[in-house]
Subunit: 141 residues, 2 copies
Amino acid sequence: MGGELHFIGIVEKASEEEAKVRIFSEYRSGLKGIKDFSHLIILYWCHLRDTEKERQTLRVFPRRHAVNVEKGVFACRSPSRPNPIGLCVVELLKAEDCILTVKGLDALEKSPIIDIKPYFPRADAVPNARVPEWTFHGPKT
Amino acid sequence: MGGELHFIGIVEKASEEEAKVRIFSEYRSGLKGIKDFSHLIILYWCHLRDTEKERQTLRVFPRRHAVNVEKGVFACRSPSRPNPIGLCVVELLKAEDCILTVKGLDALEKSPIIDIKPYFPRADAVPNARVPEWTFHGPKT
């Protein structure tokens, strides 16, 4: 039981400071109005984790966060999970033709893009959300 | 060119105040530690929009926001888009066995769940993100 994803673009240049995402030309029309937003939510496909073994992963040790206790994959942001979808909130630096230049993208080069959504602080920002102590160590996610 | 999604659960009860999401028992082990988070990001499949026609949609009028100008689907949160993925930040009220009780879920009943991620304010909260004026009208997304 499942759904079928179409890849709509690709991470052309990976960089924390200035990544480049190319939206395939047939989807370009969907970008109209995107410059009105300062931030986007990028959903990408963690293609290197799209293997049967990685997708059967349900428990991981979030070692990047110095955690030596097993966590469920739905309680951390591990790319090994039943559906290897990466989610990243980025700042939109530039939108030109099919290329989005963004800051803060944690995707690897060549990761397929599956969706781009504008960031709505009214719905998406919860600055005081409670998290466990381990999330403060290491990278942001 | 695309990927294959596995449905990991279902929206059993839709409600803005108190929705119920059931994670299928084979994925239950992935929920370990989820109670440590007050908020989650739920990715679901807008199953009623999973038709060829809806998935070819690249421009929409966001009429819920009283907008009569066409916007690209990547510049709004329309469920009609190339990959009908819904994204919603919710408050976790209760996690018992395979059932997550959450507040703020905008999914329809019977929507398949494709991923659950914990909300990390350090990465996900951008309270001052810039948005166009039309987003202030109507529903949150």
